[in-house]
């Protein structure tokens, strides 16, 4: 009668659904079923831990949902009266002990594996062969990333590193909470004012890795992106010795100012500043950049203290760029 037919349809649907899901997954690479493909030893160990945990959780998932579905099917009422009671079982201590202990063992297995991988994730390798890790300071600001290299060179939103070199990243914040995160190169570490965190990575192939701010930091949080560019050693040397320095003014304008004020200074979320004489008044401009602006009326006049912690070089580079490229007002102001 109806049950066998319905059962067949059910099985058919189940098989079809699984097949469809599997094809979709195969078609789309990992498709988001595991972290992004790692390109650094620490990120790889995190991925391994993820896979290890997946094995156990998938097994638990199948057991729990499977028995739930099976019980629902097997013990459905099927014409029995509503008053018919099942066997009045109040518990079974031994059984309950077993299903308390098994999860404990599973969790112990998970924790042991994670602790086994932990040093390789957390500890910065000594990297003696490379002459120690390359140390880069990261300063998070509303709404850009600033990188300072060992020789004092500064770059904005774009971090260049030699490929296959251990890099230690020291993370600071100049205003609110942010979080440094390049998925392919490891986990998140928060930038919290007054605190100092660090992490490391060692990119295993040349190319660009996309980083994002991982802690909500205000109105342009979504646009606070970083690019990590891993490149051969000589390209990196060229970058820290002169390219970064030469393009500092432009990259400050693009990363620090233009996100709100527009690339021509034409205004956007922030006000239009292309004609503002403030652009060519170094002293007042510095004051505004360091202190920001906070007014209640109108509220849209808020400006983050984007220049906190800047060096003289940084201010000068921006001032020159503003004067040469951005400023469209009369020259008399300057």
């Amino acid at each position: 009668m109806p049950p066998p037919v319905r059962r067949k349809t059910f099985v058919l649907l189940l098989v079809l659904g699984t097949a469809l899901a599997l094809t979709a997954v195969a078609y789309a690479g990992n498709g988001g079923f595991a972290p992004e493909p790692p390109h650094s030893p620490n990120a790889r160990r995190i991925s391994d831990s993820y896979t290890w945990i997946s094995i156990f959780t998938l097994a638990i998932f199948v057991v729990v949902e499977g028995s739930l579905l099976w019980f629902i099917f097997k013990y459905r009422r099927r014409g029995r009266p509503r008053t018919a009671e099942g066997p009045q079982i109040h518990g079974a201590t031994r059984l309950e002990l077993i299903w308390t202990l098994i999860p404990v063992l599973i969790l112990a297995a998970i924790a042991s594996y994670v602790f086994y991988k932990l040093p390789g994730i957390e500890d910065v390798p000594a990297a003696k062969a490379e002459g120690g890790p390359l140390k880069v300071r990261v300063d998070a600001h509303q709404f850009y990333w600033q990188f300072t290299y060992p020789n004092g060179t500064v770059s904005i939103d774009e971090l260049h590193v030699p490929v296959n070199r251990t890099v230690r990243v020291d993370i600071f914040s100049q205003d609110v909470d942010h979080s440094w995160w390049v998925p392919e190169l490891g986990g998140k570490f928060d930038a919290i004012p007054g605190q100092h965190t660090h992490t490391w990575f060692k990119a295993d192939r040349s190319g660009t890795y996309r980083g994002r701010c991982g802690e909500f930091c205000g109105v342009f949080h979504a646009k606070m992106a970083a690019r990590v560019i891993a490149e051969p050693k000589d390209s990196y040397e060229a970058w820290v010795t002169h390219i970064a320095h030469d393009s500092l003014g432009r990259s400050e304008w693009a990363g620090v100012c233009a996100k709100c004020h527009g690339f021509q200074g034409q205004g956007g979320y922030g006000i239009a500043i292309e004609n503002s004489s403030l652009l060519v008044q170094p002293q007042s401009l510095r004051q505004l950049l360091v202190n920001g602006r906070n007014t209640t009326k109108p509220i849209s006049n808020y400006m983050p203290p984007v220049g906190r912690g800047w060096t003289d070089d940084q201010f000068r580079a921006l001032e020159q760029y503003l004067k040469a490229v951005v400023y469209k007002g009369t020259q008399s102001g300057g």
Binding site: L68, L118, I192, V219, T296
Partner: protein, 552 residues
């Protein structure tokens, strides 16, 4: 003004209805636990609808890349207020409402221990909620710093305007309300149980409310402190959380999460209580392992106070602290697992009746399991470094809180509706609603796990990737729409059955607990006579005694 008349020499007071008996006034002045419970639940469901609307706006904005449906600032207001509303104005007060109605009935009491305090706690909650929604009209709009409002972002400099201050004020009111309610529940449960109702005979929902109340009493003062310090920073010029003036921004995170994690269990334990009532009744069996479930409720409550920093794995705590909080978070999975297995064992060899309440309860077990399992990934802190603050976390917490609290809430609504209003909800509509919400929920939130692993951070007003990002986001938005239709169907169900629904008998489900002993709806004094309680299932005992008497 002629209050009395002389009739044959006898002074007779003319009957003048008290103004407090009016249709509206009687609700405003009520101190009856059942009416306060209904006020609580209805108000919280209105807030649920409002919070859901905010979520739909967000899903519309995120449906496709580079969308301009709403502005950045509006988006930030939306997710802040959505989170705050759902947690502080919907789930916690909804349980307060359900418990208000049920706890005295379940333990055979006439009312709560402090009826006037009970009314005060409701009105604090209502005005707290109204304050929060009115903050949209404050200078600078509503709070935009997320539902946990980390300083320095929530400080005066970075969040000018009064939205943040009103947010704090609103949470203070709601916290006072929760605190008063919790004290009331504890006093009621400890002192007013029916004769014979020992601790091992109280319904599991009452156990859940007992622990819910204790957690509220323990942690609400802590968030009160955190918010007060933040308010002082903003308004008086102190600098508790301002590092450049000697404060510590991390301190707030500890204060917040010391409250914030137990809050998750404040939300989920009552839902588990509801499930522990519903599953046995619709399986026609006793709950499997009553003591194990009761004690695991206590254990979850205890451990929930020791896991707060697993929300802070990425702030750079010392390794041994990360290890401690990882292990404590994993330990809490054990009592939770015990509950899941016991519910499964309860259905084993039962006579399963798939009424709507049971569907919601089984849906809870199916989906909450997924939320629990994704929690294990988050508890392992190196993995947490990768997925925290992404859509993975958004998916995880909705699997825990939506499939937990909301499925639990609807199981409770369909189960106790006949007792509260004396009419049955429409089962057919209820089942359609369940399937719409069940399918919509999974479509909305399952792809968010994948988005998180692909690298989409939470709280982003837009994204510019196409491909899978677009697919998953679009599916998620469509799912949200399906879910919304399901929830609107509930409103239709209520309207439809208010006048024409089938009348409920005292005990339409053949249940186990005392609230089904009295009339539906119960009279103001609850019980004419309370039976002596001899087990955890007094009503079933009574039915059997009656049956025995009939058959001689």
């Amino acid at each position: 003004m002629n209050a009395s008349e002389h009739i044959v020499g006898v002074t007779v007071e003319r009957y003048r209805p008290d103004w407090r008996q009016g249709r509206v006034a009687s609700w405003i002045t009520t101190v009856d636990h059942k009416r306060i419970g209904i006020l609580y639940a209805v108000t919280s469901l209105v807030f649920f609808a409002a919070g859901g609307l905010l979520a739909l706006l967000m899903r519309a904005q995120l449906a496709t890349p580079n969308e301009h449906f709403i502005t950045r600032n509006s988006y930030n207001e939306l997710f802040t207020i959505h989170g705050t509303v759902m947690i502080f104005l919907f789930i916690v007060p909804f349980w307060a409402g359900l418990a208000n109605f049920l706890v005295p009935l379940m333990i055979g009491a006439r009312d709560m221990a402090f009826p006037r305090l009970n009314a005060l706690s409701y009105w604090c909650f209502l005005f707290g909620g109204v304050t929060l929604f009115l903050s949209f009209f404050a200078a600078g709009g509503a709070s935009k710093s997320g539902w946990y409002a980390y300083p320095p972002l929530s400080e005066k400099f970075f969040s000018p305007g009064n939205g943040q201050d009103l947010w704090i004020l609103s949470l203070h009111l709601v916290a006072i309300s929760s605190l008063l309610g919790a004290i009331n529940f504890i006093c009621t449960i400890h002192n007013m149980r029916a004769p014979g109702m020992s601790w091992m005979r109280i319904p599991l929902f009452v156990w859940a409310i007992e622990i819910y109340s204790f957690l509220l009493v323990l942690v609400m003062p802590v968030i009160g402190v955190g918010l007060t310090l933040l308010l002082l920073d903003r308004q008086v010029g102190t600098h508790f959380f301002l590092p450049d003036q000697g404060g510590n921004a991390l301190l707030y995170q500890h204060l917040f999460w010391f409250f914030g994690h137990p809050e998750v269990y404040i939300i989920i334990l009552p839902a588990m209580g509801v499930i522990s009532e519903v599953i046995p009744v619709f399986s026609r069996k006793p709950i499997f392992g009553y003591k194990a479930i009761a004690f695991s409720t206590v254990a979850i409550g205890f451990y929930s106070m020791l896991v707060w920093a697993h929300h802070m794995f990425s702030v750079g705590l010392p390794t041994f602290l990360n290890v401690f909080f990882m292990l404590s978070s994993m330990v809490i999975a054990v009592p939770t697992g015990v509950k899941i297995f016991n519910w499964l064992a309860t259905t084993w060899r039962g006579n399963l009746i798939f009424d709507t309440a049971m569907l919601w309860a089984l849906g809870f077990v199916a989906l909450f399991t997924i939320g629990g399992l994704s929690g294990i990934f988050l508890a392992a802190f190196p993995v947490d470094w990768q997925v925290t603050d992404t859509y993975y976390v958004v998916a995880h917490m909705h699997y825990v809180l939506f499939s937990g609290a909301v499925f639990g809430a609807f199981a409770g609504l369909f189960y106790w509706w006949p007792k509260v209003f004396g009419r049955m909800l429409d089962e057919g509509l209820g089942k359609i609603q369940f399937w719409l919400v069940f399918i919509g929920f999974n479509l909305t939130f399952f792809p968010q796990h994948l988005l998180g692993l692909l690298g989409m951070p939470r709280r982003n007003y837009t994204y510019d990737q196409h491909g899978l990002w677009l697919v998953y986001n679009l599916v998620s938005s469509i799912g949200a729409g399906i879910m919304a239709i399901g929830l609107v169907l509930f409103l239709y169900n209520v309207i439809k059955t208010t006048r024409s629904g089938r009348r409920a008998t005292n005990d339409p489900w053949l249940a186990d607990t005392l609230e089904w002993y009295t009339m539906s709806p119960p009279p103001p004094h609850n019980f004419d006579r309370v039976p002596y309680v001899t087990s955890a299932r007094p009503l079933r005992d009574l039915r059997r005694r009656l049956a025995e008497a009939e058959h001689g």
